[in-house]
């Protein structure tokens, strides 16, 4: 955590500033820090972090209370926050993304990298210092194998990568050089790679554990073949996930001390995670409920850190069916949503969204227009301009069963629509049902409260959410495209954005698309959800980098 942030947290904890002031100042601090590094992803020569001598602080084991299990640690299978958090410790990647917020690209295995003029051929030089945990050197051949393995498997981890790279598009001319020939030029490919965090697996170990040509898949589900700062000490699925430090990790340890190990303690109930922290069972608890922030901050030796990442909450309207197919009705809904009431329901721990993409994504326009704030007059005018001015009908509001903050959003809207003789039916559904309903407009939810999270790349955000190609296709749409939005101008711009190599033109397209989408109101970008971390004061070295979890490599316990 940076020094100004520490001071701010301290001021909040000691009561020198109110919660609202705290949130405002935190947002301002984030915005200031955001300015430079976000766009600074141009290729160049960087150096990996240098090892520093450790103080005489005895390494200790850190117990991490996590809200999620670790389904697999196969480097080519899938990603979610818990898998990523552990994979960062077991494996090295070309780049790292833990340098702060909003996520500057930092070299890791990569010592320098470059691309050709149109961003279609990328060359990466990698360090010759890295070693796998069995002592064998990590070479460019292992990098190639790791990427190819993921592309061959065609599982969730390969989803974004396979849009740009084929198995035969990657090669290793020598032991420290990797070349990637892209299918489509992409000037921000290094940033994409940093986000994808492809773990580099030892080809020799994977192949040594191969069964029936599975490239070690069965074995790597709960074993590792990496070179990261930690290795597996004990891995009992569902019961214990324990890592121990590699003291002579090739990259050294960045802090004044280091951890002896990490125990990932799955604790799915938010209340239990808080109790574990308060009782001293956990050193850190992630995904703490905002209602527990005050109690944690009032407990000696503990603090709750509130940060914002890229998890955006949207009210998505079915733009093809029912009343929400009418743009004025959608605008009516947007102006009817009382953001302040919603913020109050979340104790102020939210960050309003004013654009279809959240702050932190390059190209985000904070002045995008129109911005939908609660305005009954504009709401009435929009409703009058729609065919539904008389009301007298009902409409479904679909949300994930059990998520009280989504239900709160529905209740706030329900209360407002009642004034216009419109009944809002709150329909809680299980998540798979919502995903299934988002396949096609017919039968799709009229209004759905859905969270989206993508890489910090504007094109990914905009294409997945607002290109009609993301839902009007034989396999149907994803939940991100649950607005079933179709605007030919937007489609054309997004097609162009996908292939443009001109940075200025790309920025202009991103700005224009944000405005066009806001004018059509296929959704209400509502808020960025907070990442709340409960952490003991004895834990040092925390550095927020936009993720729910932490980078254990940087931590130590005093």
């Amino acid at each position: 955590m940076s020094t100004p942030t520490q001071k701010l947290v301290e001021a909040f904890r000691t009561g020198q500033i109110s919660r609202r002031q705290f949130m405002t100042m935190l947002a301002a601090l984030g915005a200031t820090a955001a300015a430079a590094p976000v766009m600074a992803h141009a290729p160049g020569i960087r150096t990996a972090p240098q090892a520093r001598p450790l103080k005489q602080i005895e390494p200790k084991v850190l117990v991490y209370g996590a809200s999620q299990d670790i389904a697999t640690i196969d480097p080519s299978d899938r990603v979610d926050y818990s898998i990523s958090a552990i994979m960062r410790q077991l494996y090295d990647r070309l780049f790292r993304f833990e340098g702060g917020w909003p996520q500057p690209v930092e070299p890791n295995l990569c010592t320098e990298w470059s691309t050709n003029e149109n961003g279609s051929v990328w060359t990466f030089k990698i360090t010759d210092q890295a070693k796998f945990h069995d002592g064998s050197p990590l070479t460019a051949s292992d990098v190639v194998y790791s990427y190819q393995r993921t592309l061959r498997f065609q599982r969730q981890r390969s989803s974004l990568l396979s849009g740009y790279l084929d198995v035969d598009g990657i090669s290793a001319p020598d032991a420290t050089t990797v070349v990637m020939n892209l299918k489509t030029p992409y000037p921000a490919f290094d940033r994409l790679l940093a986000f994808l965090e492809q773990p580099i697996v030892s080809e020799a170990i994977a192949k040594a554990n191969e069964v029936d040509g599975d490239e070690g898949a069965a074995w790597l589900v709960d074993h590792e073949a990496g070179s990261g700062p930690f290795t597996i000490k004990n891995w009992q699925i569902g019961t214990v996930y324990e890592l121990e430090a590699v003291p002579d990790y090739w990259q050294g340890w960045p802090g004044e001390g280091r951890l002896a190990g990490v125990v990932w303690q799955k604790s799915e109930d938010a209340g239990t995670r808080k109790q574990g922290l308060l009782a001293g069972n956990f050193d850190i608890s992630d995904t703490v409920s905002v209602t527990d922030v005050e109690e944690i901050n009032n407990t000696e030796g503990l603090q709750a850190l509130v940060n914002f990442g890229l998890l955006g909450g949207y009210l998505k309207y079915n733009t093809q069916e029912g009343p929400t197919a009418d743009v004025n009705f959608r605008k009516f809904l947007n102006y009817s949503f009382n953001r302040q009431a919603f913020s109050d329901s979340q104790l102020g721990f939210i960050k309003d969204m004013v654009s279809p993409i959240p702050e932190g994504v390059p190209g985000y326009n904070p002045d995008n227009q129109p911005q939908y704030t609660y305005n009954p007059e504009l709401a009435k005018a929009a409703l009058d301009a729609s065919p539904y001015a008389a009301g007298g009908f009902s409409i479904d509001f679909v949300y994930v069963a059990g998520l009280d903050f989504e239900e709160a959003g529905g209740l706030i809207l329900l209360d407002e629509l009642r004034k216009y003789n419109i009944t809002l039916n709150l329909v809680p559904k299980n998540w798979p049902d919502i995903v299934g309903a988002c396949t096609a407009p017919v039968g799709g939810p009229p209004i759905a409260f859905i969270f989206d999270q993508f890489p910090p790349l504007a094109d990914t955000w905009l294409i997945e959410k607002y290109s009609s190609k993301s839902w009007d296709r034989p396999t149907g749409g994803s939940f991100q495209a649950c607005s079933f939005y179709k605007n030919e101008q937007v489609d054309a711009l997004l097609d162009e954005l996908k292939v443009t190599v001109d940075a200025d033109r790309a920025t202009a397209i991103v700005t224009e698309v944000q405005a066009l989408v806001a004018a059509d109101a296929p959704d209400l970008p509502l808020y960025v959800a907070p990442n709340v971390l409960g952490i003991a004061d004895r834990v040092k070295g925390f550095n927020y980098f936009g993720d729910i979890s932490v980078d254990f490599w940087r931590l130590w316990i005093e």
Binding site: Q154, V240, E242, V263, K266, E268, D269, N281, W431, P432
Partner: protein, 368 residues
């Protein structure tokens, strides 16, 4: 009560003999009848399981939502979705899918999770052993508390101990168990710091070597008494929560049956013959009254072996209930099928054992 002989020594012996005394001279007759009974029950098991499998299969396929899209992830490309669908045979007709699954099952293959590609069989065993351990401890704890409570309650019927015992037994069944879990966490773990908040073993201690998957047994088998102590501390709150149902049922059922037995002739005769009251209660009353309780216990144990998702969720106990619940939420159909059939087998097995047990306690029931 059995038909009483007319008089003499036989009268006294027959009168004082509890109805449940096992007679070895009947052993061969009972043995044959029992084997026939077990055979009949075993023959029914495949029928039950096939019915269960068809029901589960149909339900898991007709619910809305697409497990393939969920598993493929948010940015999956259409060809990835189709490949995943083909990998798991979901592009084939439903009947063929069912037959393929059942064919695999007959060869010991419980299938794979579509969400994490893990084998279902080993996961089922792993999670089930945690549930089994919790069920054993909670049942023992529940009986250790419930049986004395029932005796106290019946012995001092309609007096203060009875009222307190009944209040306790009804209260334990009335309060949501997850709420009890949270209260116990706050009091015993957070405030008093006597017990851990959640989990199965101390994260900072050396995790014991797995033999059976039940940590209490594994630590004892290895002579790891320190590990046993740790595992015991971690199981106390979950077991306390899970035992509440046992306590409630045992206390009320046993109390009622004991009161019922108190008016029976054999008890009155025993009293008339001067048999000590303690012996009447422990040997005559309780043993006869246990029949219905054993039957209920069998039902509860079968129910608990299916997992307790709420307790497991709040207390982070890695049991089969959570495994099944997660599979259901993700529409992960092979773990859904696997856990349903596995739990089905367990319940059928427990019911069979229960049937045999109370037929042994009360030979009058017979094996027809």
């Amino acid at each position: 009560m059995e038909t009483l002989p007319n008089s003499g020594e036989g009268f006294l012996k027959a009168t004082l003999r509890p109805v449940s005394v096992f007679r070895f001279d009947q052993l061969s007759i009972i043995h044959n009848a029992m084997l026939r009974y077990i055979g009949r029950r075993l023959l029914l098991i495949p029928v039950v399981l096939i019915g269960l499998s068809i029901l589960t299969f149909v339900i898991s396929r007709v619910v809305p939502g697409d497990p393939v899209k969920l598993a493929a992830g948010t940015q999956a490309r259409p060809e990835q979705i189709e490949r995943l669908r083909a990998d798991f045979g979901l592009d084939r007709p439903l009947v063929e899918q069912y037959l393929m699954y059942m064919g695999g099952l007959l060869q010991g293959n419980w299938g794979y999770s579509i969400s994490n590609r893990r084998e279902v069989g080993p996961d089922l065993v792993r999670y089930f052993m945690a549930t089994l351990e919790l069920t054993i401890v909670s049942t023992l704890l529940g009986m250790a508390i419930g049986i004395p409570l029932a005796i106290i309650s019946a012995r001092w019927r309609d007096r203060l101990p009875d009222h307190l015992a009944r209040f306790f037994s009804i209260g334990t069944a009335s309060v949501p168990v997850f709420w009890i879990a949270i209260i116990l966490q706050i009091i015993l773990a957070q405030n008093l710091r006597l017990l851990p908040v959640s989990g199965r073993f101390d994260a900072r201690a050396e995790f014991p070597e797995i033999i059976t998957g039940m940590l209490l047994f594994d630590t004892l088998l290895r002579g790891n008494f320190e590990g046993f102590g740790i595992a015991l501390r971690y199981i106390i709150i979950p077991a306390m929560c899970q035992s509440l149902l046992v306590i409630s049922v045992v206390t009320r059922q046993l109390r009622g049956d004991m009161l019922d037995m108190m008016s029976k002739d054999f008890v009155r005769v025993a009293r008339a013959n001067g048999i000590p009251e303690r012996m009447i209660w422990l040997r005559y009353l309780m043993k006869n009254a246990l029949i219905a309780t054993v039957s209920m216990l069998g039902f509860i144990i079968g129910f608990q072996l299916g997992g307790a998702p709420l307790i497991e969720y709040v207390l982070d106990w890695p049991g089969i209930g959570q495994y099944a619940l997660k599979a259901a939420l993700l529409l992960d159909f092979q773990p859904i099928m696997g856990s349903t059939l596995f739990i089905g087998c367990v319940v059928v097995g427990v019911n069979l054992v229960t049937d045999l047990l109370y037929r042994s306690i009360d030979p009058r029931i017979g094996f027809r």
